[in-house]
Each structure stands twice: as structure tokens, then as C-alpha cells.
């Protein structure tokens, strides 16, 4: 997984295809790889309520911190944590798990990371982490919270999926949509675009697709994270319209954990050699 070096000094959202896709496992791995001179930061967005990481069966997705790491933990979770830490800030926002607390680990230990409830709070916390020296910051994204990835300037995201026979088709469709969206250009000032230019504020849902009477034109969508369409709907949309995004977080990597599915079968579903080339498969598997 050589792409991990490229994540250094960036804000990296780790988003998953579904619960237990292996996001926290990947984050711990990436934290291990990037530890060095500058402190690392970790937090999450959204509360999954997941009790177990079913990909690899670890009892609870906790972050393994080393001395100097910056973590955002819920006040309630901090009380029973193994971590000895200093508190850098206590935020006045109320979350389901209490106030978020920014801490710096004073010795190695495990902690359950937590997160804010909206993008404004996320921005404040990230600014605080940077102020306290964090270089690379990982944000463990909850299911369907990929939207958060666009809230931070120059953010990168890593998409983690667990593919099983039961979700083979839907996983392939989701990845194809993600891949197609990465090819959509940014909307640039002064660019001449086919009329009419329709700007979609907020989520692009099936109900907000312009009616059939609009046969052509340009659709400007805030960013990929606002696209809530199926693969077929996306294909239909791209056939009718020139598409543009207002912002584009950088897709740093796609990590796919295949379980009882062969790589060949999955790639057949993807039907895109270029996409298949971008995928890092089974990063924890030993190949001999």
C-alpha cells in the first residue's frame, strides 16, 4: 500500500461501503505506517454504534495511540479509557456521547475515538488539531457520512469496501459510481457550458433530477458526496447532461477486502480495467 506515504500531512477521510467494512483497521494500519517526526491526529464522524469489527473480528474498533498522537474522544468514553492523556480542549457541543474532548496521548494506549455532529464543528476541531501540531489527520467516516469529506479543503479520502457474495452487485455499482464521479471535471469560472446550466444545491436525489423535457444542458453538483443516485440513474444523467462538480475531494485510494469472492468475479462486475487497476485488494493478505 504505497499510496499511504502520499497521505502524509493531509486530512484523510476513511469512508466505507457499509458498517464493518474495515475502516478502523485500515486507519490503525495507516497510523502505524505514518508515525514519525510529527504527531498524528484521529477522530471519527458519525456514530455507528458498531460493537465489533466483523471484517477481522476485533472486539471493538479502537485506535491504538502512541505517545504524542492527538485524538478526539467523547467525554464518557474517556473515563474508562486505557489512555493516559492531557486534555487540549473540551468543546461546548453536545453529542450523544457527551462533549468531544481533544487529547494528546502521554503514553501508548487504546481509545475509542469520537466526532462532532456537523461540518462547522469538524472545521473547528481540525483547526485545533493542526494548531497543536497534528500533521496527518485521519477521520474515520461512518456509513453514509462520505458527505463530510467535502467539507475540508484539500481533503483526500480512502474508500474501504468489504465485498461478499451478498453485496457483490451493489458494491460493484457503488464503486463504479465513485469511479465515474472522479472523472467529472470541476466547474471553472468563465467556462462555456451547454445551456441550460442547472445548479443543484445540496443532495442530488432521484427526485431532483431534471424532468425528461430537459434533454440537454449542464448539471453543476456541489461535490460527489452530494450524489445519492444508483448507478443506472447516474448513467442516464451523464448521457443527458454535461456534468460538473463545485468541489472535488481527492480520491487517494480504494481498498477492497474480498470475502468468498474472487478478484476475477469482482472485476468482471466492475467491467472497468482502469478502475480495477486503482484498487488495493486484501491489504492484510499474505501472498506467496
Amino acid at each position: 500500500m504505497d499510496f499511504i506515504k502520499g497521505l502524509r500531512d493531509r486530512t484523510v477521510f476513511i469512508v466505507g461501503s457499509k458498517k464493518n467494512a474495515g475502516k478502523t483497521t485500515f486507519m490503525n494500519y495507516a497510523l502505524n505506517r505514518l508515525r514519525g517526526s510529527a504527531p498524528l491526529g484521529a477522530l471519527s464522524v458519525g456514530v455507528d454504534g458498531e460493537a465489533q469489527d466483523l471484517v477481522f473480528g476485533s472486539p471493538k474498533p479502537q485506535v491504538r495511540a502512541e505517545k504524542g498522537d492527538l485524538l478526539l474522544c467523547a467525554e464518557t468514553a474517556l473515563a474508562g479509557a486505557d489512555l493516559h492523556c492531557e486534555i487540549l480542549n473540551v468543546y461546548p457541543f453536545t453529542t450523544a456521547l457527551g462533549r468531544p474532548v481533544l487529547v494528546r496521548a502521554l503514553r501508548p494506549g487504546r481509545a475509542e475515538i469520537s466526532g462532532p455532529e456537523n461540518n462547522e464543528q469538524l472545521g473547528e476541531i481540525l483547526a485545533d488539531m493542526r494548531r497543536h501540531g497534528a500533521a496527518t489527520v485521519f477521520i474515520d467516516g461512518a456509513v453514509d457520512r462520505i458527505t463530510q469529506a467535502a467539507a475540508v479543503g484539500k481533503a483526500a479520502f480512502v474508500y474501504v469496501a468489504r465485498v461478499e457474495p451478498d453485496n457483490l452487485d451493489s458494491s460493484a455499482a457503488a464503486l463504479k459510481l465513485l469511479w465515474a464521479a472522479t472523472a467529472v471535471p470541476l466547474c471553472r469560472a468563465g467556462e462555456k457550458l451547454p445551456e441550460p446550466v442547472i445548479i443543484i444545491d445540496g443532495a442530488l436525489t432521484p427526485g431532483r433530477i431534471p424532468g425528461k423535457e430537459v434533454k440537454r444542458g449542464t448539471l453543476v453538483i456541489e461535490d460527489f458526496t452530494k450524489v445519492f443516485l444508483g448507478w443506472q440513474q447516474w448513467v442516464e444523467l451523464s448521457n443527458r447532461f454535461e456534468l460538473r462538480f463545485g468541489a472535488k475531494p481527492d480520491l487517494a485510494a480504494i481498498v477492497v477486502n474480498l470475502a468468498n469472492v474472487s478478484r476475477a468475479d469482482f472485476e468482471k462486475k466492475l467491467a472497468s480495467p482502469a478502475l480495477a487497476d486503482r484498487i488495493t485488494y486484501n491489504p492484510y493478505q499474505v501472498t506467496r
Partner: protein, 531 residues
């Protein structure tokens, strides 16, 4: 009061008022309307003092704002202080308070009631703090420090044992766990590993197995020792928290006094900022009843809208020496804006703010009410006329409770003019006889019987001569252009002594706004016939 605030478009201004501390924000939410001249004077004095301090040194002003912004709400309950996070907040509160108090000169500290009494408590909390950070340091308990030292030894030993085991696994099985907690191997490889005492295996899927290192007895023993010490550490931390929470709670009264002083300072500094940025002046307060004088008073929401539209704004200058005042004027002549300007200035003044004017002299009312703007409203089945009467009855009843500033815009406009004029005359006469009332009525009805107590004013209106001079041969197009033309030639000035004078600009305005020339001409002829 809400209707009065809405009429004055008070929220447009209030949105600019942004206190920096949680205490200041609490005061902001209260939206206090001061009814005591002494209290208002005290608020103005504080804003003046804060303004002088902030204007004196940019560096100190920035520093003050930094610490105010960083001030957290200190929760002083045993529950809130029962965690390191609660103590962090208490320390952060004290640290910022101390820095703020240090910044203020003695005279200003005295004005805001800022007396620093918590040096010893802050020093105690600082044993666990460096800069903004706080932790339950070993300085609070020798035993705690000793446990942590022992845990550090355990951690070192665990690290060594882990590295040793990983090296052995690499050498024996070729499996590298240095960056991974586990590895996934195929069945064939797994078969070779079966029986390995130093690996734990479990199925990953139908053809793969997850393997993890088993660290051995010595590792488990050190790990158990660490867990035991971690348990003891938690007990010692809880004891340290209890002791520190007790020390903080013992100073609850000091914290409350600091919060009160900081709230005053935050509010005063923010009022001073607005005064400087919006060029506001301190109102002069007189004992009620007293004349109300506005000199170049600006109704900021309209000033901003006109500025954005590229139109000229005329500030209001007026002196109301009587308690009851009638403002006559033509359509679009600025009567309502004159009322709004007065409402805006009075509301700002009685909310503790300085006022956008070159001078504002007024008195402090016990209440304020507005009646008008109800043509589209209905309430409880009442028509707009019914609603106006109901509002008037409610406002009239309030006169028993003290002085009331009553603003009425086009009162009774929806009924026939004869009855409306009679009703208005009677109301004005009644208000004139009630020393608690200060009433301002804007109307386009001319020649009201207002009694001897009322003063009459007139908006100067449309400058026909200047308009004719400019307009000869030019055609206006579009609403923007038409509005600009009205704005250009309407004289938004308030002239005193216009009782009985009729406003005669409506037909001209209708013409500018595009009503057909034939209709305008015929309307003029009808006016001539009725003379």
C-alpha cells in the same frame, strides 16, 4: 414588544451584536429592554470605558478579544467537576480570566467589578497544566507518579517482548506483523501453520484464515501487571479529581463574580466595537416626559439597502417637543421611515446600545408599542381594522403601568376616511390628556383634529420644480429607474407645523410609477373640480 422590534427591524442590527463569551451570549439572548435611566447610564458608562480602552491599544484589544473568545462556561457542580474534562474547563476559565484582568487598568477593573482572588487555586490547577493543556499530573500525588512510572516500565517491557515475538515469527514462519495486527493467509499456508503455538488462527472466509501473534506467558504476565497498575492509577486519579473539584467548588462565589464581571466586560466591549464601526453616539437621557431630538439619525437597515441599490439615504433630523405628534406626508414620502428611525434609535438606546445619529436626546420609557402594518393579517377572526383596534386597546391599557412610547403607522387606514379621521382625532386627544403617553402617528389623512396638545409635522415631499427641470424630455424605464427617480426628487425631511396641510404628491408618484398619462391627467382634473 415583539411587534415594535419587528417594525424597527431590530434583528438586522442585533445580528451584528456578537459577544465572545458564553456569558455574553446568554445576556444577548435575554434581549433586555432597560427601563431604568440609572441602569442605562451605567451600561453606557461601561461601553464608553471599554471603547476608550480598546481604542487605546490595538494589541491589547486583540489580546482581550482572544481571551474572551477562549473563555469557556465553567460548570460548577460536583458532577461537572468529577472528571478531568470538568477540571480542564475550570482551569481554562481561570487562566483566561486572570489574563483578562491583568490586561485591564485598575480603574477599569474597578468599573467592571473584576477582583482577582484565585491565584492559589490557579497555581494548584497549573500543576497539571502547561499552556492550554491540562492533565492529572503526578504532581498531585506521589503515589500516582509512582504508579505511572511502574506502568511506563511495563510498557517498555511489553514493547520489548512484542518485538522479540514478532522477530521470531518473521524468522520461523516468514510472517511480518510489524505494521499489522493480523494477517490473512490462504488455506494451504494455514495448513502449514497448524499447531503453531505462537499463532492464533480463525476463519476469514471459505478459503482464507486470519492469523494473529500469540505473545506468550511472559507477555501476558506483564500485561496483567500493567492492567492491575492501571486500575490503581484510575483510583488515584479519581482521588485527585475529588480533591481538585473540592478546591474549585470552595471558590464557587469567586467564579460567579468573575462570570458576572466578564459578562459585563464582554457586552460593553462588543457595544463599543459596534459604536466605533457603525459610528454610533451615546444617547442623552432625560427624565420623562421630555422632548425627543434626533439629529442626523440613521435607520441602518434602510441605509444599507439604499447603499446596495445605489440610492441616496437622507438621515432624519427632528425635534419633538410635545408628547403627541402627527406626521403627515405623501405616499412614499418617508413617514413610515421617520417612525422606523425613531423606533430604531429608541430601541437601541433602551437596549443599552449607542445610536446611529450625530445626536439623540430622549427619555426612558417603561414600554413601547407599535400599531400598524396589519393589512394582511387577521387574528382570532378579526379583520385588519379589528386587529388594529385590539392592539390599541392593549396598548392603551399599558398606559396605567407607566410611560409608553406608542407608534402608529397609517392607523385606521382600512376604514372610510371620515370615520377614520374622527376616530384618530379622538384617540390623539385622549393620548394628549394622558401624561404617560408619547405618541407618534404617521398618516396620509390630512386635517386631523388633534387638539391643542398635539404637534403636527409634514414630510417635505416631492420636489416638483427640481423634477420638472430634470425630467423634461426624459423617459424612465424599469422599476429600479423609477424608484431611483422618486428617491432623487423626494425630500425626506421632516418639517414642523403642518397641521391641516394636505399631501398632494400621490398623483405625481403614480405617474412616475407608470400609470397611464390619460389617467393621471384626468385625476388632476378631478382634483381641480373638488377644490
Amino acid at each position: 414588544m415583539e411587534k415594535f422590534r419587528a417594525f424597527a427591524e431590530f434583528e438586522t442590527f442585533y445580528a451584528l451584536f456578537k459577544p465572545l463569551t458564553p456569558y455574553g451570549r446568554m445576556a444577548r439572548e435575554a434581549r433586555r429592554f432597560y427601563t431604568s435611566a440609572a441602569e442605562l447610564k451605567a451600561e453606557y458608562d461601561l461601553a464608553d470605558a471599554a471603547g476608550a480602552f480598546l481604542g487605546d491599544s490595538r494589541h491589547k484589544a486583540d489580546k482581550l478579544r482572544f481571551h474572551l473568545r477562549n473563555l469557556p462556561a465553567a460548570e460548577l457542580t460536583p458532577e461537572a467537576l468529577g472528571s478531568a474534562a470538568g477540571l480542564f474547563l475550570a482551569r481554562k476559565f481561570l487562566l483566561n480570566t486572570s489574563e483578562i484582568f491583568k490586561l485591564l487598568p485598575a480603574a477599569l477593573r474597578s468599573k467592571f467589578g473584576a477582583r482577582w482572588e484565585s491565584a492559589a487555586l490557579l497555581a494548584l490547577l497549573n500543576k497539571g497544566g502547561a499552556g492550554e493543556a491540562f492533565h492529572l499530573s503526578g504532581a498531585y500525588s506521589e503515589e500516582l507518579a509512582a504508579e505511572r512510572a511502574a506502568i511506563a516500565v511495563c510498557d517498555k517491557a511489553l514493547k520489548g517482548l512484542r518485538e522479540k515475538r514478532l522477530k521470531a515469527l518473521r524468522e520461523r514462519w516468514g510472517l511480518d506483523f510489524s505494521e499489522r495486527d493480523f494477517l490473512v493467509v490462504d488455506e494451504k499456508t494455514a495448513a502449514k501453520l497448524s499447531g503453531a503455538q505462537d499463532l492464533f488462527a480463525e476463519p476469514f472466509d471459505g478459503s482464507h484464515v486470519t492469523v494473529k501473534p500469540v505473545y506468550g506467558q511472559d507477555y501476558m504476565e506483564v500485561s496483567a501487571e500493567r492492567d492491575r497498575r492501571r486500575g490503581r492509577e484510575a483510583e488515584l486519579e479519581a482521588a485527585a479529581i475529588k480533591k481538585l473539584a473540592g478546591a474549585v467548588l470552595a471558590e464557587k462565589k469567586n467564579f460567579e463574580a468573575y462570570a458576572a464581571a466578564l459578562q459585563k466586560l464582554d457586552i460593553a466591549a462588543e457595544r463599543a466595537r459596534l459604536a466605533a464601526e457603525l459610528k454610533l453616539v451615546r444617547p442623552a437621557l432625560k427624565k420623562c416626559p421630555a422632548p425627543i431630538k434626533l439629529e442626523k439619525a440613521r435607520f441602518l437597515p434602510l441605509e444599507e439597502r439604499l447603499r446596495a441599490a445605489g440610492l441616496k439615504y437622507t438621515p432624519l433630523t427632528a425635534a419633538f417637543s410635545r408628547r403627541v405628534n402627527v406626521i403627515y406626508g405623501s405616499n412614499m414620502g418617508g413617514k413610515t421611515v421617520a417612525l422606523k428611525t425613531l423606533a430604531f434609535a429608541q430601541l437601541l438606546a433602551q437596549s443599552g446600545f449607542f445610536v446611529p445619529a450625530s445626536a439623540f436626546e430622549t427619555c426612558v420609557f417603561a414600554g413601547a408599542a407599535f400599531i400598524g402594518g396589519a393589512e394582511m393579517e387577521t387574528a382570532g377572526g378579526l379583520s385588519s381594522f379589528g386587529l388594529e383596534m385590539n392592539d390599541f386597546v392593549t396598548a392603551h391599557a399599558r398606559l396605567k403601568d407607566g410611560s409608553l412610547l406608542l407608534l402608529m403607522d397609517e392607523f385606521a387606514r382600512t376604514t372610510n376616511s371620515e370615520e377614520a379621521a374622527a376616530l384618530l382625532g379622538a384617540i390623539l386627544e385622549d393620548l394628549g390628556g394622558n401624561p404617560s403617553a408619547a405618541a407618534f402617528l404617521a398618516t396620509h389623512f390630512s386635517g386631523l383634529k388633534t387638539g391643542k396638545t398635539a404637534a403636527a409635522f409634514k414630510m417635505r415631499g416631492f420636489d416638483t420644480a427640481a423634477f420638472n427641470d430634470y425630467f423634461s424630455g426624459r423617459g424612465a424605464c424599469g422599476l429600479d429607474e423609477k424608484l431611483k427617480m422618486i428617491n432623487k426628487f423626494m425630500r425626506y425631511e421632516l418639517l414642523e407645523g403642518a397641521e391641516g396641510e394636505e399631501a398632494r404628491d400621490a398623483i405625481k408618484i403614480a405617474g412616475i410609477l407608470g400609470v397611464a398619462k390619460g389617467i393621471v391627467r384626468r385625476a388632476r382634473e378631478f382634483m381641480e373640480e373638488t377644490k
